[in-house]
């Protein structure tokens, strides 16, 4: 990295846009503050704990535990044809949490604490914001 500016050579920026770019490569990436060690999912360009701009990318394991969940019956317009669908918050390594849709699981089998794995739809959406998606499934 370059002294003083916090700018790193050839390191992707620590942004939400970059988080979604990594999804296309089936990578779940978090940012880590090089000074105080705080982890960020999604990444952010400045550490909110110590204000350092010295960050590094950390690739996360895709396995985690379901912390809480719901089944959405009344869905917003873009998700109408998928309802009812399950949605949960999954606890990954180091206490990091990720919310998302849970696919291909019988809703009766959902329980706090079950193991889930992150999987990817790598094709970006055709309209704004042109991001790919991740989702959870049984391992």
């Amino acid at each position: 990295m370059m002294e003083g500016t916090g700018q790193q050579v050839n390191v992707p920026p620590f942004t939400i846009e970059q988080f979604f770019k990594f999804l296309k490569e089936k990578k779940l990436m978090a940012a880590k503050c090089a000074r105080c060690g705080t982890l960020y999912l999604p990444p952010r360009p400045v550490c909110s704990n110590c204000y350092s701009k010295e960050l590094t990318w950390t690739q996360l394991k895709l396995r985690g535990k379901l912390a809480t969940y719901t089944v959405i019956h009344m869905a917003p317009e873009p998700f109408q044809n998928m309802a009812p669908y399950a949605y949960g918050i999954v606890e990954l390594e180091n206490g990091l949490r990720l919310p998302g849709m849970i696919r291909n699981v019988e809703h009766e089998k959902l329980k706090v604490g079950i193991e889930l794995e992150v999987d990817f739809d790598t094709e970006p959406s055709s309209t704004w914001p042109q991001w790919p998606r991740y989702y959870f499934r049984l391992p």
Partner: protein, 393 residues
């Protein structure tokens, strides 16, 4: 009890439009109704001469394709050229207007201001409304993945049930209570009782929350007249004093919070408000809390210190927050039955406390109440404001 707490400001009058599906009325017209009631309640107030500024809560310009709404309300309330500002923190927008109004008086700039809020929601379809309200959730991680507001509170309900054994019946009892209270409120959106059986049999919205666990999509407007305490008696024989104001923020995304069974912004806002007012939770006689979903009211009992963490279910089961219980909560019917025109809600809560503490709540009057509290939540808990009120004598 002794009436503790140095007044920050006084509430000398209040107005509320009818809540509900108000087909013939746009937002500005509903606000004019609320303002007119507040002016008529207060004969010594000369609105055009006395009111020096307006602070207005409104959440979304999508409902009426109308932003820049604050000056419009100064006009519709007959107060031009009084300056008007809109405050927005989702469903807590008008409690934010209240706090901003308090700042304006405490700064010494204004002596009398009008604080209020409105939302005109029912002209849009339920799908559109769900989308507009959903914008208050984190876009890249919550909205993008298909979460809804009922869904976010359902995540808290699942966690609360898992951790403390809270039941769907206990949440249902909150809906039954609030519909009972709303049946006594002529301005409520739905003025009818519901049975626990009806609540439990209603269709699933986001598991475990059913239709009757959800608040209403309503049109409505609210306002109060604030003055500096020293001049309050000029306008009202029995003004209500605000003695505590608390406000806290938290992460926009629910998934980034420390806990899913408690709302930290409520705990922090309550601490500030209680300290400022010099009271404890046990001193509160009546409260209007943010029951956007039944689980939100249950968690509010705990976060406001009315009961211990995890005991919200027992608290409602024992009947403590019912109209004739020890600590009546949401005597107005709450967001559940009175309705939830989001921008109006924070000040609609204050309207109910004003009626109660001045003995004007008619069929739902709580006898002998002295200290009131309001808790207004924004989004899934990224914002919360708590205010403490007391009667003047």
């Amino acid at each position: 009890m002794a009436l503790k707490g140095k007044p920050l400001v006084a509430v000398v009058s209040a107005g509320l439009s009818k809540f509900g599906k108000m087909e013939d009325f746009s937002g500005r017209e509903l606000f004019a109704q609320a303002a007119t009631e507040a002016f008529e309640r207060c004969p010594n107030l000369e609105p055009k001469k006395d009111i020096k500024g307006l602070f207005i809560g409104m959440m979304s310009e999508s409902f009426e394709h109308q932003s820049h709404s604050a000056p419009m309300l100064s006009d519709w309330a007959g107060l031009l050229p009084a300056p008007a500002i809109r405050t927005e923190i989702a469903c807590a927008s008008s409690a934010a207007a209240l706090r901003t109004g308090i700042f304006s008086i405490l700064s010494g700039i204004y002596d009398v201001v009008l604080v209020g809020g409105f939302e005109k929601m029912t002209k849009k379809t339920t799908l559109e409304t769900t989308e507009f309200l959903g914008m208050a959730a984190d876009y890249p991680f919550e909205q993008w993945n298909g979460i809804t507001f009922p869904g976010l509170f359902a995540l808290m309900a699942t966690a609360h049930m898992h951790e403390y054994g809270t039941t769907e019946q206990q949440m249902g009892l909150i809906a039954v209570k609030n519909h009972h209270n709303g049946s006594l409120n002529p301005k409520a959106h739905i003025q009818k009782e519901v049975s626990l059986e009806t609540v439990m049999a209603s269709r699933m919205i986001a598991t475990p929350l059913k239709l009757y666990d959800c608040s209403l999509i309503s049109d409505g407007a609210s306002c109060v007249v604030l003055t500096k305490p020293e001049i309050a008696k000029k306008y009202a024989d029995n003004p209500v004093y605000i003695t505590g104001s608390g406000h806290a923020s938290d992460t926009l995304g629910l998934f980034q919070r420390e806990s899913f069974t408690s709302i930290k912004a409520t705990i922090n806002a309550a601490k500030e408000a209680y300290n400022m007012a010099g009271i404890k939770p046990a001193d509160v006689d009546i409260a209007e809390v943010h029951d956007c979903f039944t689980i939100a009211e249950l968690i509010a009992y705990e976060d406001l210190g009315f009961c211990k963490p995890g005991e919200g279910g027992k608290f409602i089961e024992k009947g403590v927050p019912t109209l004739d219980g020890d600590l009546p909560v949401n005597t107005s019917g709450g967001l559940k039955s009175k309705g939830h025109p989001v921008g109006a809600t924070g000040i609609a809560q204050v309207y109910e406390i004003f009626l109660q503490l001045t003995g004007q709540a008619e069929k739902r009057q709580v006898e002998g109440c002295s200290v009131g509290l309001t808790q207004n939540l924004g989004g899934s808990g990224a914002s919360c404001l708590v205010h403490v009120f007391r009667r003047s004598k």
